[in-house]
Amino acid sequence: MTRFLGRRGGWATSLSVLVAATTLLSGATLCMATEQKAEIAANARQVYVPVGEWDKYYAFLSGGQSGSVLVYGLPSGRLIRSIPVYEPRAAYGYANIPGSDSYKRLKRTGAFWGDTHHPILSETHGDYDGRWLWINDKANSRVARIDLSHFETVAIENIPNLQGTHGIAVVSPDTSYIIVNGEFRAEIPEGLLKPDAYGSVMAFLDPESPAPRFEVLMPGNADINDSSKDGRWAFTTIYNLEKGVTIEEMIRRDEDAIAAINIPAAEAAIERGEFQTVDGVKVIDPAKTTKQVLYLVPVPKNPHGCDVTPDGKYVMGSGKLSPTVTIIDIAKLDKVEHPRDAIAGQPEVGLGPLHTTFDGRGNAYTSLFVDSQIVKWNIAKAVAGDPTYIVDRVDIHYNVGHTQAVLAETMHPSGDYLLSLNKLSKDMFLPVGPTMPENQELIDISGKTMHLLSSFPAEPEPHDAVFMRATDLAPKVVQVEKEPQPNAIKEGESRIERVGPHEVHVYMTAIRSKFGLPSFTVKEGDKVTITLTNIETLRDMSHGFALDRYGINIALDPGQTKEITFVADKPGTFWYYCTWFCSALHLEMRGRMLVEGENA
């Protein structure tokens, strides 16, 4: 052919090939760009919530060392609000005034900060009932309960005999207990330096208070926990069976365990008196009970996540330092000769598996910290030993910790979205200094393959998340208090009363755009109690009461009454004003506290 075309023909051929190749390449590039644009548009459509419409899900993310709970809407990833738990928040009038209940609660239980890790939701019949949310404070051995009708922290308790309050879970299906683990081994009882008396416990809490009903001694560091769907078993991953105190000592063994506590057996042990009371709590030593309470299933190596499948059949331990997930058949636990025989499978999934979650269609999704991936795998295939159990992988940015599919901790996962809670964000957002925001990534899991839809930032640092359908929770959320509190001040009842030689009580209403009293006069040194009622009946019409130079701010939602007490120790004029921009006359909504000097 070359010969036929001659030398000029050769040039022509080369030129044609070049033109054809360039055309093809441009065509392919154009196609790819168009496809990419189409994918971006499709992703945007999935996460865009039109103005005025609501997200499909509430996502409750722990606020980590911010000591709070963050409430996002999904799929939009919009921050709706945060709930202060272990930290004061003046905007909501939470724990910012020494006399307030919320302040006293934090002071009684420890520090004015917390390290929240795992939010959990109350269940009825294995599904979320929208009553309460609990969250641990890893740093100060505390557990708090939030009332979801008000999105407000209503109870906080110290949990004795444990440090590093880490794993926390609801005992399904009807919230019979809240279980919480001590991840750090320390003296039990505390109060003396005795390293040979180190131990850790799993505490079984009364859901409402939430104070311990009893505790069970654990053989190592109790990490992440969960319960069986029938309420019979409490599970936790255990690492450091070595009982070491340094990293080197803690990773010596190739196997640690998933511990399973037989809850009826533990309750029976308490009834039989097989416990010691330590720091006011009944503590069971599982080595000393008549009936076996504790079962240890060997799991490689320093396992982390502990997750029960929605059907209640398996509990899974994610390997962390082993590339495997260990699948344990719950029904076999107390029937096999050795707990090891309850292991139904141990699929390799990737490097650094930390947590596993579920779509309710027989698939598991495991976060791979080291690989920076979410891996989707089929449970039945993994159990059957079918080598094709890996279904899909998706890259995330970067180093995922927890991952949760929506409603995966109930018996009915929604199977549409999964949240990847990543530990590092690096280049994902506008730089805001060396402290980077955390990165959450939303993944569509409704199809066979996963699609990374969007990412959104958060304050440091969410560890874990739980979700509720908006249609289940929104109708239960109070927006205007219907029943006035017993100490509510009615319109026209604002007044000041001297109740003692050095004590006054101020009763005031707040409504657009006036406080009930334009001014009130006290004497220097008076103990002043102010009872303030927001008498609005309109949704979203909050008022505040900030008192200059006295460091006071109260926040009052419509219908709410709050009370503060302080000593008027500075003579002069002190303006109080509304801190919530309530109306066109918001700036004029103010008054004066007149403090007469002692020599006046």
Binding site: I511, R512, S513, E536, T537, L538, R539, A584, L585
Partner: protein, 210 residues
């Protein structure tokens, strides 16, 4: 149309029922909608025969910007239930009467109800005018004088104000129409009662002879 007792009684019984509704249900209603009070959160005022209900607390709060004087004692609301009660009794009387008495009662009911409508509309118009013009206390914000419509929609500052007859008002109008129909239907009976005189007249004039 003669001897249509049952039909007329049914109409009058229905009128009694509708007057009962008018006595209990709101007669006239206002809906106020603004950007921050839209959809389900629109404000409502419902006027009954004897009282006013609705988002009065909120309107009173807003009123500090507008400076409207809301009368505390509205005489029409004191008279209203008694008037409706009297109409109810009259309708019952018509229902239980017959022949000429029934007609007269129905006709009287019609006339009184029409007069009441005219009176109520006039007084309401006056009240609405006074509301937007007779500004008793200094408003916080400058708002032009206004008159909310008796029936219809208008814009007052950022509020779209719509007024309409409520179920009680519609029931009243229904009762009025029924009373009117009853009066009309019983009219022929009155003529037949006078038949002998009529016949004599006809005879005198030789009409019947032809």
């Amino acid at each position: 149309m003669r001897n249509d007792h049952i039909g007329v009684r049914v109409l009058l019984a229905a009128a009694v029922g509708l007057l009962l509704v008018a006595l209990r249900a709101p007669i006239w209603t206002t809906r106020l909608e603004a950007p921050q009070y839209h959809g389900e959160e629109a404000l409502h005022v419902r006027v009954y025969a004897g009282h006013i209900s609705g988002d009065l607390h909120e309107l009173e709060t807003l009123n500090q910007y507008i400076g409207v004087t809301i009368p505390t004692d509205i005489v029409e609301l004191r008279v209203g239930p008694w008037l409706l009660g009297a109409f109810l009794m009259l309708a019952l009387f018509a229902l239980l009467s017959s022949e000429v008495r029934q007609h007269r009662a129905a006709a009287l009911l019609l006339v009184l109800m029409v007069l009441s409508v005219v009176g109520a509309a006039a007084s309401a118009e006056y009240r609405l005018y006074a509301l937007g013009h007779d500004r008793g206390h200094t408003p916080f914000a400058r708002v032009e004088d206004f008159t909310p419509p008796l029936l219809g929609t208008t814009k007052i500052e950022n509020f779209e104000v719509s007024t309409a007859l409520a179920p009680g008002g519609l029931a009243y109008l229904g009762a009025l129409l029924l009373a009117g129909t009853a009066a009309w239907l019983t009219r022929e009976k009155r003529t037949s009662l006078r038949a002998p005189e009529f016949d004599q007249q006809m005879k005198r004039e030789g009409v019947l002879d032809g």
